[in-house]
Symmetry: C2
Subunit: 385 residues, 2 copies
Amino acid sequence: MARVKCPICNKTENILKAGLIRNKQRYNCKNCNYHFITDKKKKNKIPFFEKSDKQITMLDIARAAGVSITTVSRALNNRSDINVNTGRKIKELAVTMNYQPNILAQSLVNRTTHTLGVIIPSLETTIFSTMLSGIQEVAATAGYRVIICTSNEKHEREVANIQALMNNMIDGLLICHSIHTSTFEHLRVHMNKRIPIVQFYRVAVGLNVPQILAEDEAGAEAVTDYLIKKGSQKIAMLLGPKELSLTQNRLKGYQNALRKNKIKFDKNLLAHVDFSDESVYTSLDNWLSRFPELDAIISISDKSAAQIITKLKNKKINVPKKIRVVGFGNEFVGEMLDPKLTTFDTQTRHIGEESSRLLIEQIISGKRDIITKVVPGKLIIRDSA
Amino acid sequence: MARVKCPICNKTENILKAGLIRNKQRYNCKNCNYHFITDKKKKNKIPFFEKSDKQITMLDIARAAGVSITTVSRALNNRSDINVNTGRKIKELAVTMNYQPNILAQSLVNRTTHTLGVIIPSLETTIFSTMLSGIQEVAATAGYRVIICTSNEKHEREVANIQALMNNMIDGLLICHSIHTSTFEHLRVHMNKRIPIVQFYRVAVGLNVPQILAEDEAGAEAVTDYLIKKGSQKIAMLLGPKELSLTQNRLKGYQNALRKNKIKFDKNLLAHVDFSDESVYTSLDNWLSRFPELDAIISISDKSAAQIITKLKNKKINVPKKIRVVGFGNEFVGEMLDPKLTTFDTQTRHIGEESSRLLIEQIISGKRDIITKVVPGKLIIRDSA
DNA sequence: ATCGAAAACGTAGACGTTTTCGTTTCCGAT
DNA sequence: ATCGGAAACGAAAACGTCTACGTTTTCGAT
């Protein structure tokens, strides 16, 4: 067995094994008191970046300026107890040396990262990406970064994402629950922590967390009211899962309008969908077969409304003459449809903006007021109703 | 003048002023050798979170287990040189004590954050949010976080975002250039750094950075070819700014098809838009007035195609009989239109996924191969052409 | 000139990890 | 029993910043 040689003295006599490093045997030459690993691969590892890549640190500046790190820190943070000339000189040096503070180190000491976490069910749905856009915009102008996580409407992923985000790294959390989330223990666990949370759009009812909501109740009421005024009597409504605040509120608004107009409520005219294409089509088929006199449909989103209209056109059912169709959300697609979609504009972007604003406000102020804010929307009347 | 009292001995005799802290006067009692600040506000600052909020650290575990921090580290990282029992015990302790590693500290030492930066022109355009979705999905499964920045199609914001992201905190950068970006110095500056960059969808030509592209050339060629086969001769095309690779490639494909079919190229049939609604409408009006025999339009996106179709319908121009319209991107809206939109599916989501994959691969491998990958798309034939 | 306040600066942690370089303990073979 | 190698563990430095606590210097008032 070939003995190991010391790279210094080139002898094998005094070699001792000295522990493992990353599963590689480490040796020690007692003579030279030198530790080494016989790692052939190590030689190949040529760094692909220059030495010059090393970031300038405060220490470099301190040395260049002939002061201590503390003084550099004071200068760069515009503290008062520093000589103006020293301060200026250091700041100039920082610029010429192209100093960039290490955000990680700053975050580690300051215990704040200037980063918001956003958990959102999906990015491919217009309303969510629009809300995200609003969130990101407000955050960016306030100097906050945004980390996004998508739950893909899966409860487990929502839970995992919350864990991962709350774990560290974020100053605040914005969350829009997945459609399959009906228990909220995973959120409650984090509620009394330092990190503020804001729920938006889809919120957990009865949880002591600030909320930013769409005008679901008033919106649904306005829509229903409008349909009735136009002459509709049998109005079907597409809703989400029963646990969602969105579902409950829109239902309330719908019922309010019916009551006001003295129309009997029929729960068979409601359908709870999971936002999948099939569930929408199934509900539609179901209504059409059970209610020949159906004369209006309030959809849960503009996308579903578009699907419904397309399907009705296929079946040669006239929209709006035979059946009026109304959407919810005012997405881009509405204006491109034929007939153009009448819809309730929930001001999706504003919801994102407001959520972001509220969260940042709570981060900065340190207050944890349980605020519920409803972003007002408005009915957009076009051709489909 | 009321003299300052020492909070310890309650006397005023030995008080010395001792520097400033955050612009507040600090005092020192020479007798008690105690430093203090007369800060009335401090008392009100009741922390809104419990003491228990303090995160468990490795030190806590080490103490509980009666070992050193090093051993805890070894256990949690599954290193080999540790007794299996000790390791198990420590890992159990970590679980029961609900230990969560501090990612900031880890990142600081490891010089890696497991975070990707994404710069994207907008979030409210379907194709971008779809690409982002793909990016985020792949990143998440690979254990990477995603920070998003939107440039809102502004060059300055793109530059600022790159600076902010590259500065620190990210292991890799994904960038889709803003439409108003025609110089790329801001990117070149960062190219020889440690941090890998991948451009996607809209890329800078001639920059030594890996790229993931849509099948613009072949796609445009296929579309044009199809239109010609269907009988079109005067085919107009909506393009983006001339600097974009997207524009150049689609133009190439368009010309290829014309050449192949021996149709004369007329540059007046091209329009370069900035994606704004007006620019689309202006181009359309311009074509209609100058080319009465116009029989096909290749749009730059499905959205624009939708707008064009709607506009043409308003003008009572039949689509596809008089003018065929083809989109690009295969967004959701296409299927909802009347007539349903024929479009080239660029596989937007795949582009995002591939970009993310390539970037992560480069991060992990450490290689910086300048790869250009074109994601194949396919022509979706529906009713508008 | 002297003294004290104020200004200006420095030292030495701390933040929570990982890693390097050690040492100590254990154990089987002689 | 002893010795060498392996296994198991620890001390300390490092990552780059901030800050509590000191010290030194300056300077105006006496």
